[in-house]
Structures are given as structure tokens and as C-alpha cells.
């Protein structure tokens, strides 16, 4: 089986879904002739035409708002936002409309849109090109939030996101776009939303992570008996897989590159405190970025949780 990187995997998921379903259209800035700033949509304009692979005006609010209108009419729009920090203008469209239309119309309408965007530090980008603010979207009822960590799960998760009836924010770890390759089956397969994957079995610590940090978490496990879980869907997350693991290990470390305060790690900590207290042998530890604004290139390595920091958390829960 041929290996592929994350960019190829997402490209193939988009192409296969466009092939399968004529209603799938792509909207974004520079996604056509240029193939996207990360080349994720390269070749799709040539294959599917300018009516389905649309270079839009520079207009994040307009794109997401138009996607909502297209979805009401019956299309399945997939919007690309160039960098996560540029999505903020469109948050009102996601929160006040896409997330609510099913509820506001008591089931008559839905907004099955996908908003894809690269997130995270690690590419030495300019200011406001490295945000990781997934928790904001997780807080909004009606929105699903998905983060792939490998080319393999990126393809399966994105296909599920496109087929989902609810709006999905699909966060692509920009650091991983071209740095890892996995085997990528040619055939159609999906990974269900709301399903977490146990990527390494272990008995003493449950480490939960996603996206870029999943790989750092894996690196940090040497010498510890860690079960590593790739959360994949941050909302709704897979409660069963998490509970089964913590019942076995009794110790939990959550690793994410977003800041800790009100981060997804906080929600997971509360979840374990509410539903697994009697199984816990130590406090739930979080390894996160410090509560500061994402730095520019020179300081970004100090911002992102390091392997050492993760190992210290493992030591701490083991010695508690």
C-alpha cells in the first residue's frame, strides 16, 4: 500500500467525497488555481471545475455565511479557512446560525457544513498563524470538533465530517501536513465521529491527546506503561473508551497544545472527576501551553508542550 502525507490524505478525502456526492462544493481563498496555501486542494479545480472548487473573495464571514445558505438549499459545502486565527470573523456565523438552525427550526433545517482550517504552532509562521483555540468551538452546543493526527485517520474522519448532518469544525495540524506519512488505503473508508482510538495499550497511565501533540505524547512514553488515546473527535468525545482506560490505569494525563485555562483538558478533567473519581489514584494532570498569546517563531518551541514536560507529568502521576 502506498504511503501518503496528511496533505495528500485530505486531498483524497475531498476528491472522493466530491466524486461520490455532487452536492459537495469547496469554498476558500486561493483553493482553486493555487491549490490552497498548503496545497491541500491541489488539482481539484482541474478535476471538478470552478463551480465546485471556488476561489472566493477574501471573506471568511461571507464564506461561512454563504455555506450556511447553500446547505439550507441542499448542498454540502466544505469551507477552507487559511489559518485558524482567521476564523474568528466567522464565529458568529458558526455559533448563531450553523450551530443553531436545527434547533431553532425544531428539526426542519440543518447546516451540514464543514469548516476546515490548519491550527497549531510548529511551522514558524507569522503572527496569528499558529492558534489552537479548539475549546471555543467545543463550548458551543451543536458544533462538532474533529482533529486528525495521521493521514490515515484524516481521510476517514474528514469523510465522516462531510457526511455528517451537523456543522463540523475540522482542525488540521499544520505541523503534520508534510512531516509524517502513513499507509493510505485507496478504498472508501470512514472513521466515525465521536470515536477515540487507543493507539498504544498500557496499564498504568492513560494519556489523552490529539493532533500534533499525540506524536509528542507517544515519544514521551518510553519507560512508562502508558495507554495512549487519540481523542480524534473533541466534541462529542468518546466517553466509553476514556472510562474503560482510566478504570484500568487509574491515572490520567491530558496533553494539548492549546492553553490550559478552560481548555478541552479542563473538560476532560471534570469528566473524570464526575464519572471516575473512585478509579483515580492521582489527580488528572494537564500538559498544555502556558496561558499566554501564541508567540512568533523564535519562542514557539518554548510554548508547545515538550516531551520532557509530558514525561514529568507521567512521573508525577506515578509518584503521587
Amino acid at each position: 500500500m502506498a504511503k501518503a502525507n496528511l496533505v495528500d490524505a485530505i486531498n483524497r478525502a475531498l476528491a472522493e467525497e466530491m466524486e461520490r456526492d455532487e452536492r459537495v462544493v469547496l469554498l476558500g481563498e486561493d483553493i482553486g488555481r493555487d491549490g490552497g496555501v498548503f496545497r491541500v486542494t491541489a488539482g481539484l479545480l482541474e478535476r471538478f471545475g470552478a463551480e465546485r472548487v471556488v476561489d472566493t473573495p477574501l471573506s471568511e464571514l461571507g464564506m461561512v455565511g454563504a455555506a450556511v445558505g447553500m446547505a439550507l438549499w441542499g448542498l454540502r459545502p466544505v469551507v477552507e479557512i487559511q489559518f485558524m486565527a482567521f476564523i474568528y470573523e466567522a464565529i458568529e456565523q458558526i455559533f448563531s446560525h450553523a450551530a443553531r438552525i436545527h434547533s431553532r427550526s425544531r428539526g426542519r433545517y440543518s447546516a451540514p457544513i464543514v469548516v476546515r482550517t490548519p491550527y497549531g504552532v510548529g511551522i514558524k509562521g507569522p503572527e496569528l498563524h499558529s492558534d489552537s483555540t479548539e475549546a471555543i468551538f467545543c463550548h458551543m452546543p451543536g458544533v462538532k470538533v474533529v482533529v486528525p493526527s495521521t493521514p490515515y485517520n484524516a481521510k476517514g474522519l474528514l469523510k465522516s465530517a462531510i457526511r455528517d448532518e451537523d456543522p463540523v469544525v475540522f482542525l488540521e495540524p499544520s505541523r503534520l501536513y508534510r512531516t509524517i506519512k502513513t499507509e493510505l488505503p485507496q478504498e472508501d473508508y470512514t472513521i466515525p465521529l465521536g470515536h477515540a482510538e487507543v493507539v498504544k495499550e498500557g496499564g498504568s497511565i492513560t494519556a489523552i491527546s490529539w493532533g500534533t501533540m499525540l506524536h509528542r505524547t507517544m515519544e514521551a512514553t518510553e519507560g512508562f506503561d502508558v495507554e495512549v488515546i487519540d481523542l480524534q473527535t473533541l466534541k462529542p468525545f468518546d466517553e466509553e473508551t476514556l472510562l474503560n482506560s482510566v478504570k484500568k490505569t487509574g491515572r490520567t494525563v491530558v496533553v494539548h497544545e492549546a492553553t490550559g485555562f478552560c481548555g478541552v483538558g479542563a473538560e476532560l478533567s471534570a469528566f473524570f472527576a464526575e464519572l471516575a473519581m473512585l478509579h483515580l489514584r492521582s489527580p488528572v494532570m494537564r500538559v498544555t501551553a502556558p496561558d499566554g498569546v501564541v508567540p512568533m517563531a523564535i519562542l514557539e518551541d518554548h510554548y508547545m508542550p515538550s516531551v520532557e514536560k509530558i514525561r514529568r507529568a507521567f512521573e508525577e502521576v506515578m509518584n503521587y
Binding site: V25, E51, V54, T56, P57, S59, L61, G62, M63, V64, G65, A66, A67, V68, G69, M70, A71, L72, W73, G74, L75, P77, E89, E92, Q93, S96, H97, I101, H102, S103, R104, S105, R106, G107, R108, Y109, S110, P141, G142, K144, D164, E165, D166, L193, G194, K235, P236, F237, E239, E240
Partner: protein, 351 residues
């Protein structure tokens, strides 16, 4: 080199019937007796519904309600230009549009009572739940009209908003994109002169809202929004152009909000009562009545009959709305997502 003019624009204004009932014969075309009676009957119905809502609010039977008094011609005239295949994107101040389109009044009343089921749009009606955050639905109409164009549908999207909404970024991005992609969309701005307490002159320094369309590459027109004939004509023409693939239009209906912003507002704090009195002389029913008299379509008995019928329709809707049992608490959760989370499933048990 001297400066050269490389482009110039004219803002057109359409009025078919003036306040005194004088009409332009050349433009007064295609208004059948049936259509004119429909204008009158729907206008009276929407006004009756509106005044009943104001009373119901005072009696504590519905919550805060935004009056349409004064704007009925803009609402009814434009709504009657729609086809069944067209889509409508209303704001919260669109009782007249909904009444004219035959939206079940008991549902609208339920909504104002605080029941979300009131915005469960019946199947077969392409109306989107009213937008509460001002102007934010404008890009939806762009997307919908754009999708219609992509699929070659002979349909258009009609988007309502006000002068306040035209100040939002959503207005710019929505209209800009509609121009670029020639969406089958008609943008209808009811310039009622006031966004709560802020006058139109504080929304924009441009002389009209209609002229903003030129910067997006399509036609903009200002219409006497209290002249139901002009509103109908302009909307129908714009919808037809959209359906022929000729792109969007911005219609500015120049009208006036005769009542407070909502029942929670007191316009006397910021508005000269003299201005309101002046506009009352221009309210839309007066001149419609004059035209109908001239056409031999109006008698006192006819109007009494229409008013009586409208009151019966609205009263029966009120009766129906008030007889409905409250929604189940579980409704808070069951429509949030197509696939509930574990947390939502636990919370459902507690509701």
C-alpha cells in the same frame, strides 16, 4: 493628463402611486383587480395581526414584540411578488411578510410566546427562521441564491433587513459575494429611518442605501416603501432578473417605523412626535384605498368585511396558539445535534 470620469451611477427612485393617490399610468400596468384586492386584504390582515400582538403583549399573553406598523406595504408588496419555489430570509420584524405568505399565525404567535416550535417552518414553505442578530443572515441568502444559480434552478432568494443591518460587515460580505458569483438573490432593505434610537444618518453617510449596490457591481434602486404598487413592481422585476441569471439587486424601501422599536422600547425618548405625525399621513393603507376607490374596488362595506374577516382569522389563531400545551423540557436538548453526546444523554434524563 486631466482627470477623467471612468464610471458614474444614477440612483433611481420608483413611486407609482403618491400620497395623494395620483398614479403613473405608464407604470400602473399588470395590477389586476384580483392582485389589488390581495394587496388590500393581506395588508389589513397583517395590520390586524400586528395590532392584536401589541395588545397581547400588554396583557402579558406574549413576550416582547416588534411592530411592523407603517411598513406593511414594503412587507406585503414584496412577499406577494414571490413564487412558491423562492426562498425567504426574514428578520424579526417581518410579521407582514409572514402573514402575506400564509405562514400559520398560530405558529408565529407561539414563537412570540417563547416557544421555538413557532419557527418550525411547515414543509413546502421555503422560509428560514427569522434572524435575530441584525443583518447576520444576509450571507445565507447569498449562499442560497448562489446554489440556485449553480443548479440552474428557476428560483430566487429574497432577503429582508433594515437600515441598521446595512451597517454590518455581513451586509458587505454578503452583497460583495453575491455580486461576484451573480447569485439569484434579491436584497430588500426596509429603511424605516430608525435602528432603535439611532437615525438613518448615523448608519451611513451615503445619501441612499440603494447606491451601495453599485460598489458591488449590481443594480440598486430606492422605492417608495409605502407604495405597495412600487414595492411589488420593483421586487417582481428583481426576482425575475435573478431567475434569468442576471444577478442580484438591492432594493431600498424608503419607509417609516410608526411604532416603537419593540414593545420594550419608548421612542418618545429619542424621536420627535411631529415626525411620526408627518409619516402617518403617508402610511400605506391610505393611498391603496384611494387607488381602489378609483378602480371601483373599494366600498366602506368591503373594508368592514375585510377587517371583520381578518379579526376572525387572527382571533382563531390566538385561540389555537393559546390552547397548545407547552413544549417538553427535553426539547432543549433533542434538536441540538443529530447525534447526542454522552453528556447530553445524561442531561436528558434529568430534564
Amino acid at each position: 493628463m486631466p482627470y477623467r470620469v471612468i464610471d458614474s451611477f444614477e440612483v433611481r427612485y420608483l413611486q407609482i402611486v403618491d400620497e395623494a393617490g395620483n398614479l403613473d399610468e405608464s407604470l400602473f400596468d399588470g395590477f389586476s383587480e384580483w392582485l389589488v384586492r390581495s394587496f388590500f386584504e393581506r395588508l389589513v390582515l397583517s395590520r390586524t395581526f400586528n395590532s392584536r400582538c401589541l395588545s397581547l403583549q400588554r396583557e402579558g399573553r406574549i413576550g416582547t414584540y416588534p411592530s411592523i406598523y407603517g411598513q406593511e406595504a414594503s412587507q406585503v408588496g414584496s412577499a406577494l411578488a414571490l413564487d412558491a419555489k423562492d426562498w425567504v430570509f426574514p428578520t424579526f420584524r417581518e410579521s407582514g411578510v409572514l402573514a402575506a405568505l400564509g405562514y400559520p399565525m398560530e405558529l408565529l404567535l407561539r414563537y412570540w410566546m417563547g416557544d421555538e416550535r413557532g419557527m418550525k417552518i411547515p414543509h413546502g414553505m421555503n422560509i428560514v427562521p427569522m434572524s435575530i442578530p441584525v443583518g447576520t443572515h444576509i450571507p445565507h441568502a447569498t449562499g442560497c441564491g448562489w446554489a440556485m444559480r449553480l443548479e440552474g434552478a428557476r428560483a430566487a432568494a429574497l432577503c429582508y433587513f433594515g437600515d441598521g443591518g446595512s451597517s454590518r460587515g455581513d451586509f458587505h460580505e454578503g452583497l460583495n459575494m453575491a455580486g461576484v458569483f451573480k447569485a439569484n438573490t434579491v436584497f430588500l432593505c426596509q429603511n424605516n429611518q430608525w435602528a432603535i434610537s439611532v437615525p438613518r444618518t448615523r448608519q451611513t453617510a451615503s445619501r441612499t442605501i440603494a447606491q451601495k449596490a453599485f460598489s458591488y457591481g449590481f443594480e440598486g434602486i430606492q422605492v417608495d416603501g409605502n407604495d405597495i404598487f412600487a414595492v411589488y413592481r420593483a421586487t417582481l422585476d428583481a426576482l425575475n432578473r435573478a431567475k434569468r441569471g442576471e444577478g442580484p439587486t438591492l432594493i431600498e424601501c424608503f419607509t417609516y417605523r410608526l411604532d416603537d422599536h419593540t414593545t420594550a422600547d419608548d421612542a418618545s425618548r429619542y424621536r420627535d412626535p411631529g415626525e411620526v405625525e408627518e409619516w402617518k399621513k403617508r402610511e400605506p393603507l391610505l393611498r391603496l384605498r384611494l387607488v381602489m376607490q378609483r378602480m371601483g374596488l373599494w366600498t366602506e362595506d368591503y373594508e368592514k368585511e375585510v377587517v371583520k374577516h381578518s379579526e376572525e382569522v387572527v382571533d382563531s389563531a390566538i385561540e389555537k396558539a393559546e390552547a397548545v400545551s407547552p413544549p417538553e423540557p427535553s426539547d432543549i436538548l433533542i434538536y441540538t445535534s443529530h447525534t447526542p453526546s454522552g453528556r447530553q444523554r445524561r442531561e436528558l434524563k434529568e430534564l
